[in-house]
Symmetry: none
Subunit: 405 residues, 2 copies
């Protein structure tokens, strides 16, 4: 354990919690000897990520798990996605999630342009860096039909409505100012002008190429989730914690960067069920060398929940179980949980709490022998909130300040 | 479950929680097969309505259960009683709970005028609508010796003391301004003038009639619980929840109206142990047709607690158990709890938590087999607060917003 016992790995299996289907949840149905050993040797409980009854989004949920109260620190989804895409943000930047989409006769035929990424990086480059009024547009294609989009300039505001209607067969929505400020008016005007300009992509040779290959044209860019970026104190400044993120999905890297974590580049980390878990565990073990805290994010459990795929979720948990074996041998403390429940019966996030376990030295082992939604209700940690996790981690690592003296 | 599984019934048995007498609480002593079945098939816990150690009033307790933090939304008891009495309030109205009482030689002989309502509706009418300065007095007799009283006019304040001394053999108290504002001074002046005028009822023929029938004269009106009314966003606006209240007691209807619920008129719902529970269940079943959420209030358990009547409380619970059978067949989610404890040994509200259960589809069934203060301590929900209940209900009904994205 020499040296490493004062380090911690937070493993977040996205959407882990569930509800019983034919009497069992995926966690109960999965064969998971390593995870159950962690539960047996550790302390367990149920965690309400954002408090009882609150349905967490992935972004706010992770902020809470990292010790950042979303009420104070949430900046909207756009900047977190942009950070996840590797863009550097400046104070005052307004960032959006954006899609290439297909429009015909003013209506959206497909709000994802068929999901094919063919040629889209190049299309994005053609618009990256253009100016509208005194505002610079920064654009980066990420995966499939997705983009990060930033407006950089003076006098802007994130209080604007979405262009993306979230349903097909509707028109792209006019961006509107959500409050009466001239900053919001200006931002909406620039967004609308940009959407108009993006429709000039219709005649771009790349779209002719896509048509030849039977793909829908990417002839409009639609955006949603405006947020204003600001720099916040990172985990090292706030907690004395050098932290690193191992994740496939861009959003999770984005939240990690937002709170000042390093982000490991991992080949084969896809943010899907086909992710290379071995490579991610390698990255965790490597990350422990120069960091106090490693955040390992695994997305597949959530995707299976959204798809209503019980078997897939159970099998993903069994793959995670194998990965835990190697993590247990690092000697680091392990905290294992989810960011929220995504029950296969509901195919959406719910407020049902996630089981959580703390494992390692100087932890009060309880009588729980299985890691699942029911066994952990009797755990020694009782019911806790997401914001409780990081202070508990800091104390385990001898990094918690005494309150008072 | 067709269609109705996305509806919910909140059953609040007033003052339900208790302490053991000879080893058992009324809940433990009662035969209650239906309620135990709900517990066995549902998720249970203990609920601290306003937080640990806080002794709830009925008004604040119900606000919390409806998802309205009393710290933000409580407006005093007076307006809630007035709403319960069916009076329409306007922004800025100052409302009080009031009693007809009996005064002799300046002292209160009976602060309830013997509880008899004989002639009191007519006595109230004689004073209803009078003006003092520029303030209109609105008065309505409700039950027994009780009245709702409203001051409507400009420049008033609820920061005034009670006239009702709450004990017999004292003088009605002078109403005083509780802060230095001229609004409170004016309000106190008008209240005192009204109390003086109410004493002119001494010579009213109705009081001669009462005397003939051996009843105490209703020769003064005393008030307490001043509150300033304001309109707050209702459950439909805040939560997207169309809600209806089924209750006998005026206060509960008042709180329900305050938060925008419809109120069912139920014949035989008395707010006492003699209430017609069958008629109330009929009203619940009918209310489910056009509402997402039905609040069913049952008062008898609390009254027995205040009277120190163990047997009565136990039997009331057994009557409630029979009513639950029909509610279970509606297919709606059922949430069963109390608003606070009223232990027969203490004859008052206490902060002891109430058992609570959630029953219906997509609920994590725990191992608890009996619904009582001790069994539910081991329930899967652990300890929750009153304000947690409504968010949990909203998530069950697929009406909870995602926090973030």
């Amino acid at each position: 354990m020499h040296g490493l016992q004062k380090k911690a790995i937070l493993v977040v299996c996205d959407g882990l919690g569930d509800l019983p289907v034919k009497g069992k949840t995926p966690l109960q149905a999965a064969r998971k000897p390593n995870i159950n050993k962690l539960a047996r040797e550790g302390a367990t409980g149920l965690m309400h990520t954002l408090g009882r009854g609150v349905v967490p989004g992935s972004d706010t949920a992770h902020l809470a798990l990292f010790g950042y109260d979303p009420k104070e620190f949430y900046c909207g989804r756009g900047p977190l996605e942009a950070l996840g895409a590797g863009l550097r943000l400046q104070k005052g930047d307004i960032a959006f999630r954006a899609n290439f989409a297909t429009v015909k006769d003013g209506k959206l035929v497909d709000r994802r342009a068929g999901r094919s990424s063919e040629g889209l990086a190049e299309l994005a480059k053609g618009l990256d860096g253009i100016a509208i009024e005194d505002v610079k547009i920064i654009l980066k294609h990420t995966v499939e039909h997705r983009l990060a989009l930033i407006l950089r300039g003076s006098g802007l505001s994130a209080k604007v409505s979405d262009v993306d209607p979230e349903y097909a067969n509707e028109e792209p929505q006019k961006c509107r100012a959500l409050d009466g400020t001239k900053e919001a008016e200006k931002t909406a005007r620039i967004v609308n002008e940009f959407v108009k300009r993006s429709q000039e992509l219709e005649g771009n040779p790349i779209n002719k190429e896509r048509a030849k290959n039977g793909l829908l044209p990417a002839n409009v860019i639609i955006m949603r989730g405006a947020g204003e970026y600001r720099q916040i104190p990172g985990t090292e400044e706030r907690f004395g914690l050098k932290a690193v993120c191992v994740a496939g999905g861009a959003l999770y890297k984005g939240v990690a960067r937002y709170v000042g974590m390093d982000v490991a580049e991992v080949k084969g980390a896809t943010g899907r069920t086909d992710t290379n878990l071995d490579a991610k565990v390698d990255a965790v073990i490597s990350g422990l060398k120069n960091h106090d805290f490693v955040f390992l994010h695994i997305k597949g459990t959530d995707s299976c929940g959204h798809d209503g795929n019980f078997k897939g979720k159970k099998e993903m948990i069994e793959r995670i179980d194998k990965a835990m074996g190697r993590l247990m041998r690092t000697g680091a403390h392990i905290i294992l949980t989810g960011d929220h429940s995504t029950p296969v019966a509901k195919k959406r996030h719910t407020s049902d709490p996630c089981p959580i376990l703390f494992w390692g030295e100087n932890i009060r082992q309880d009588n729980v022998r299985n890691f699942d939604e029911f066994s952990c209700a009797a755990g020694g940690l009782g019911h806790l909130n997401g914001l409780d996790v990081m202070p508990m981690v800091l104390d385990l690592l001898d990094k918690a300040p005494i309150c008072g003296a």
